[in-house]
């Protein structure tokens, strides 16, 4: 299966207006600039972490840990233009540590209002979605992460590789393996 031929429309992460300047300013010690980065990028970090972890409590902890780590590690950011990928890397680590602290893979509750989002969905469709969500929750955190970055965040493979600190070729093979694992687990959840 060629995963790149019909991949989701790549929307490489781009700095929002003013964001790059804020990164530069934060690197120069401007606390207000870093706080603006928090407010600008907070929704994205929460969305990614929630998709990976599933639990709101774990997500809140992971996002908070990630931003504190980002502040502490800010002097290590060499290229301000790579802030998004650098932040993704820190966030993914925070999610991994959240899983580690939990000690086991927790069952992921379905979100409130799940049925209400698809009022026309048949019972079989709801059951299928339920099974898919449970299957996703049984993936390893690495597998979940790569699927979230690819399918939800539409990151190009190069950005995924950077966030996971792996070569692009490895990212490609792991994306393939994660997708295959999801399909296998879905089969057992049906």
């Amino acid at each position: 299966m060629d995963m790149t031929a019909v991949s989701p429309k790549a929307e490489p992460a781009t700095e929002q207006p003013g964001s790059l300047l804020d990164v530069e300013s934060a690197l120069d010690g401007d606390i207000g600039a870093f706080d603006r980065l928090v407010l600008t990028h907070f929704p994205r970090t929460y969305r990614i972490a929630l998709a990976i972890l599933g639990s709101e409590a774990d997500t809140s902890d992971a996002v908070q840990d990630a931003w504190l780590a980002a502040w502490r590690q800010l002097p290590t950011l060499r290229d301000p233009a790579r802030f998004d990928g650098w932040l993704d890397q820190i966030l993914v680590n925070a999610c991994r540590m959240s899983i580690r602290r939990r000690g086991r893979v927790r069952e992921i509750p379905m979100p409130d209002g799940f049925d209400a989002e698809a009022p026309q969905a048949s019972l079989s469709q709801v059951a299928e979605r339920d099974a898919l969500d449970r299957a996703f929750g049984r993936l390893t955190v690495e597998q979940r992460t790569i699927l979230v970055l690819h399918h939800l965040e539409r990151r190009p493979l190069s950005a995924i590789a950077a966030a996971l600190v792996i070569p692009v070729g490895t990212a490609k093979s792991r994306l393939h393996a994660a997708r295959a694992a999801l399909e296998r687990l879905l089969e057992t959840e049906r």
Binding site: V6, V38, W71, P75, N93, P111, R129, L132, L152
Partner: protein
């Protein structure tokens, strides 16, 4: 991925959108900003191109206050003009006490101090409050002249009120049994290495606390001398606080001998030891990871300090290329291939080490066995130092490893 697959990209994307559709809790962003503000209060802004490390030359400045100023000649020129010199305490008059002429650098507590020659010094071997022997956390100077000086330090938790936390910390008996018990807010002020602190005097003991670099420093003098305060002040005037050099991981003072894996290592016994339950077979078992779900084959130690050690060993199949075999079955996800990893020596055997996000993994071969030693950590900045301290305690005994037929169930 393509749409011809029976699980379409759209289904995966829709599922992920549903999972992530819930809004963030009210106030979470504000809470993050508040946490950052608290963090900044503890650790000042570190801007690009500026050094956060404080010059070490304050030691030279402090020596000016020695009794008689024996070592002070010439050192004053090194003092930075922006750093005010410590003010001598009123009682710092020449005392009947030997000159403090030799530097002692604490191996764990992040300070140095001048001491007399030819006195007994006992360096700290453990985190403060982590040993049943209270003094294990202190650096001690036994002068033999009716005065015993001790110093220690510990990281201050986030978001606490200093005075209240110090009072509570010292009152629990694990750190300073028999202390003066004077609330810190009611104590006299003292300046140590330019940092404002508090000091209490009670019969036969003086104790001072000062905060620097997010650490609480505790210095005491047990003295049966009328000039005890002057002696304390003489010692205190020579202290150089270097919180950047403090060690926040424990001494690994207990030895674990693996019943199955053919090694022993040091650890801190806080109830976190988990011996392996099954033998390790990396070919059939999941690759080592963070989850904790597949830790059965590993001897593990949960330190409770944001660090988890685990280790295992296995006989290497005949005829395989070590690097390729390790990469295929052992190297944790996110780590570089073994051939690209740095070298490390464990118990005299050359191996490889990978420092990966939140984990360090080292592999070494001895007598046909592959050994894997891992540290999973919670973004500890001192992870490598902690790992190296652990490695220094490891002894490989491949002849003692259990054979598969004698596997524990």
């Amino acid at each position: 991925m393509n749409e011809s697959s029976w699980l379409s990209d759209r289904e995966v994307t829709d599922m992920l959108r549903r999972r992530s559709a819930r809004p963030a809790p009210d106030g979470l962003a504000t809470a993050i900003l508040e946490s950052l503000a608290s963090e900044r209060a503890r650790h000042p802004v570190r801007a690009r191109g500026r050094s956060a490390k404080r010059p070490l030359m304050l030691l030279a400045a402090a020596t000016l206050l020695l009794g008689g100023g024996a070592l002070a000649a010439g050192s004053g020129a090194l003092r930075l003009p922006s750093i005010p010199p410590p003010e001598p305490a009123p009682s710092l008059s020449p005392v009947d006490f030997p000159n403090l002429t030799t530097t002692f650098v604490s191996p764990r507590n992040g300070f140095s101090i001048m001491r007399p020659d030819r006195v007994a010094v006992t360096p700290a071997v453990q985190l403060l409050g982590f040993s049943t022997q209270v003094d294990d956390g202190f650096d001690g100077v036994e002068t033999g002249l009716g005065a015993y000086f001790k110093g220690a330090s510990t990281a201050i938790p986030h978001g606490v009120s200093i005075d209240g936390w110090v009072d509570e910390y010292l009152a629990d008996g694990h750190v300073l049994p028999g202390g003066c018990g004077v609330p810190r807010s009611q104590q006299e002020e003292i300046t140590i290495d330019g940092q404002s602190g508090s000091i209490a005097e009670c019969p036969d003991q003086i104790e001072a606390t000062v905060v620097a670099g997010g650490r609480l420093y505790l210095f005491t003098l047990q003295a049966d001398r009328r000039d005890a305060r002057a002696v304390f002040d003489a010692f205190a005037a020579t202290i150089d606080l270097t919180p950047d050099t403090a060690v926040d991981y424990p001494g690994l003072t207990t030895t674990f001998v693996s019943p199955t894996n053919g090694f022993s290592f040091g650890y801190i016994d806080r109830g976190g030891l988990e011996p392996a339950r099954v033998l390790w077979d990396p070919v059939t078992q999941p690759r080592p990871d963070f989850s904790g779900v597949h830790d059965g084959p590993f001897d593990g130690v949960e330190t409770g300090l944001g660090a988890y050690f685990k280790a295992a060993s296995v006989a290497i199949p005949d005829g395989v290329s070590i690097d390729a075999w390790v990469d295929e079955y052992v190297t944790p996800i996110g780590c570089a291939p073994r051939s690209q990893q740095a070298e490390i020596t464990i118990d005299g055997h050359s191996g490889r080490i990978a420092e990966c996000p939140n984990e360090i993994a080292a592999t070494v071969v001895a007598s046909g066995r592959l050994y894997l030693f891992m540290l999973l950590h919670d973004n500890r900045p001192d992870a490598r130092e902690f790992f190296d301290t652990w490695v220094a305690t490891i002894h490989l005994t491949p002849q003692d490893a259990a054979a598969p037929s004698s596997a524990a169930s």
